[in-house]
């Protein structure tokens, strides 16, 4: 069905046709016509953020927790440039976003007009794709195409830059018809021959490991179910990247915990000593591999990924399978069942014996205290007191993020939202707002640091405006903790600019915004304070004063291999574990 309408009305109509009910945004001169069209309908709910970066992260949190595409609307110039960090974050973590930006009228483009910037030029490198709509005739197609590109294949952010005259122009709108793009058609089914080859490798493996990532989550809940089935059928151990937490239940006995720089001893040693690594929807990122030339040296590697460029990018693999994780896992589970395949059980038994020895090192252990709250203890208590609810966790970036990943345990996919690839401080609060809007009845907690939270603290105002009861759980150690830890590791403990001076009183700050503030510094009172936070119907800032000098361990020091971890019980001289070459790395 086609109708005559203005460009601005087309934007809203397309959002309706795409089933978008929540839109994050901030108005401005170049998007006023779209805001006027929004005003005259009530299908799409607009959520007014306080900074465009917040809009992008909120859309990410919404998308990651719901599996839908997140949508944001910002104005030209500073509106667009403020959204860039969130767009880049979504690109790195493969989050589907559609970002609509206003632009100065077409006849002013290139004239350095007020609030003009080259949005498509600037966002070319931080989006999966972008469009400048110069003609009203192209607008309906581009709007629908953007949703297709953002959500299909390896998901990512897409920008549609719409000049103001195009928003006013009248044209013919038509609903989306076919989703086939003329050139962009990602391959979903894996090659049957290669999958068969993978099955043979898996039946022969003596020391196998599943190394899973965010791709399993992106593929949808079915992929997580299939992963659980395949793990149960094969009996192989499972580890995951930061982005993949929740795809496999942490309570399962085959779960090794997270791998990588702050992963568990058992996960990293299993990766190092395995003879078959099955990488499912992960990308061999440098946080995962450690020293590349000592990465899993005796192993054959299978890599399943929807993005062909991920295969053989950082690590050469023996068998690459291009396809959607869900489709490939489905084929694998079916083949394993119908052909009654068997793993090498005696070898697996010996492998598990070895893994249990590594597990016994208890690499996430820490020295408790009755005087100060240990940050790990705070996360453990938070987990124990919230695990039986429908809980969604977001984080900022730093030590607290790694402690959350280590000590909060996830049973389901889409429950964990964190900035993995880009490492964006300020992500957690807006992401929590997005997650809360997607799941109004759920408990949504942003595990934060006192430094990170200040990067997007203005979104407290958004939380209050929409009565979103998000909880901000700050592990306050008065340091940019991860920076401080690296200065200890690399720079002789010279804590250059990493102390959090002049901190606000977070309790008063919460109250100033109209929320609830809670402070706790006594381990004995922690449970009661956390319970008070959970029970509060309002947005809460919880200022948890923790041990100031605690380091995040275990850790693979940069430039080292998986089997060269620093463990908490080693009492290593932190200043001497990284060599000159390692210091060059980040």
């Amino acid at each position: 069905m086609s109708k005559q309408m203005s460009g601005a009305e087309m934007v809203v109509e397309a959002l309706k046709d795409q089933g978008v009910r929540t839109l994050f945004g901030y108005p401005g001169g170049a998007v006023l016509p779209i805001y006027d069209a929004l005003f005259q309908q009530d299908f799409v709910k607009h959520v007014l953020v306080r900074h465009e970066q917040g809009a992008a992260h909120a859309a990410e949190g919404f998308a990651r927790s719901s599996g839908k595409t997140g949508v944001l609307l910002v104005t030209s110039g500073p509106g667009a440039t403020n959204a860039i960090t969130g767009l880049t974050d979504a690109l790195m973590d493969s989050i589907p976003l559609v970002c609509i930006t206003g632009q100065v009228p077409t006849h002013l483009i290139g004239s350095d007009a007020f609030q003009e910037c080259d949005t498509v030029g600037i966002t070319r490198h931080c989006t999966k794709h972008n469009y400048l709509v110069r003609r009203i005739e192209d607008l309906p197609r581009i709007l629908h195409e953007a949703f297709y590109v953002a959500s299909s294949g390896r998901p990512g952010p897409v920008v549609i830059d719409i000049p103001k005259d195009v928003q006013f122009a009248v044209g013919t709108y038509s609903a989306p018809r076919n989703n086939q793009h003329k050139s962009y058609r990602p391959q979903l089914k894996g090659d049957a021959g290669r999958i068969a080859q993978a099955m043979t490798m898996m039946t022969k493996a003596k020391r196998p490991v599943f190394y899973t990532g965010g791709g399993v989550i992106n593929s949808g809940p079915a992929a997580s179910t299939l992963l659980r089935e395949l793990a149960a059928l094969t009996g192989f151990p499972v580890t995951s990247t930061l982005m993949g937490l929740g795809a496999f239940p942490a309570s399962n006995k085959q779960w090794l915990g997270m791998l990588g720089m702050h992963g568990t001893f058992e996960a990293n040693n299993a990766m190092h000593d395995c003879d078959l690594m099955v990488c499912i929807g992960a990308r061999f990122d440098d946080r995962i591999t450690g020293r590349l030339d000592a990465f899993a040296p005796g192993s054959k590697k299978i890599h399943i990924d929807i993005d062909p460029s991920s295969i053989n990018k950082n690590v050469k693999v023996d068998l690459g399978i291009i396809g959607d994780v869900g489709h490939v896992l489905e084929d694998m589970v079916r083949l394993w069942r119908t052909q009654s395949l068997e793993a090498n059980k005696s070898a697996l038994k010996a492998w598990w014996t070895q893994i249990d020895i590594w597990r016994a090192r208890n690499s996430l252990g820490f020295r408790g205290s009755e005087k100060t709250i240990k940050p790990q203890y705070a996360i453990q208590r938070l987990y124990e007191l919230t695990k039986d609810r429908e809980t969604y966790i977001t984080t900022e970036v730093g030590q607290h993020q790694m402690w959350a990943a280590q000590h909060y345990h996830f049973e389901e996919p889409n429950r964990w939202m964190t900035s993995g690839g880009l490492g964006t401080m300020g992500y957690g609060l807006p992401a929590a707002i997005g997650a809360q809007l997607a799941h109004p009845k759920a408990l949504v907690i942003d595990i934060a640091g006192e430094a990170s939270i200040q990067m997007c603290i203005q979104e407290m105002s958004t939380a209050l405006q929409y009565r979103l009861p998000v909880k901000i759980f700050i592990l306050n150690n008065e340091y940019m903790g991860m920076v401080r830890q690296w200065q200890e590791l690399l720079h002789g403990g010279r804590y250059s600019e990493s102390y959090s001076e002049a901190l606000p009183d977070f309790v008063k700050l919460a109250e100033a915004y109209g929320g609830v503030g809670i402070r706790c510094s006594d381990p004995a009172q922690l449970d009661a304070a956390i319970q008070e936070m959970i029970d509060s119907p309002k947005a809460v800032i919880f200022d948890c004063l923790v041990d100031k000098m605690e380091n995040c361990l275990p850790m693979i020091p940069s430039g080292k291999a998986h089997n060269e971890m620093i463990l908490p019980d080693m009492d290593a001289q932190m200043g001497s574990v990284i060599d000159e070459k390692g210091k060059m790395l980040v």
Partner: protein, 183 residues
């Protein structure tokens, strides 16, 4: 078990290694605004080399352009470049003509030479040997046009240098696979 056997990444092996190869990539793209910027930005953003680049529309009705890129890197890096190009939404097809083998590569150059007397005669003699055509002449100069493989053009320019080379304009490489089929 600890022997470091795993080949390092194409990024770490791309610099200063002897197995750097030159490849010609033929990239079929939608002829739309910004598509060249996407391709060029990909190369600069990921630290790949461009030795030569040509672009022009090849199918008007379908709005298709062909970008021919000569790039260099290890075989792993070249494979990665191909996949990264394929990720760009307006890219239809990427063909590594060097891998396909036996592709025909041609470049066009215009070469301005200044001189008098014996040098003019020598320039014309060499141009004749290279099948270069005179497309502009004054009493003191010639502009030659020649097509051929890049190394032939390099050689012609080097010969003209002592005679009185003034200026050179080259198109960069255009390439196509041999035989009846489109690869």
């Amino acid at each position: 078990m600890n022997a470091p056997t795993s080949p390092p990444s194409p990024y770490s092996s791309a610099i200063g290694k002897s197995n750097v190869e030159s490849h010609t990539l033929s990239v079929l793209v939608d002829n739309e605004p910004g598509v060249l910027a996407r391709v060029v930005g990909l190369f600069s953003g990921r630290g790949y080399n461009i030795e030569s680049l040509t672009v022009a529309e090849v199918a008007h009705a379908e709005h298709l352009s062909r970008i021919t890129i000569v790039t260099s890197g290890t075989p792993e890096a070249i494979e990665q470049i191909g996949h990264q190009l394929e990720r760009l939404v307006p890219v239809h097809k990427v063909i590594d003509l060097t891998l396909v083998g036996g592709a025909i590569e041609r470049e066009l150059a215009m070469v301005k030479v200044q001189g008098k007397g014996e040098n003019r005669v020598e320039a014309l003699r060499l141009a004749d040997a290279f099948r270069a055509r005179v497309i502009d002449a004054t009493t003191q100069s010639f502009v030659f046009e020649l097509t051929g493989r890049s190394d032939k053009i390099d050689q012609f320019i080097e010969l003209m240098r002592p005679i009185g080379l003034v200026d050179v304009s080259r198109t960069g490489v255009a390439a196509i696979a041999r035989g009846a089929a489109a690869p």
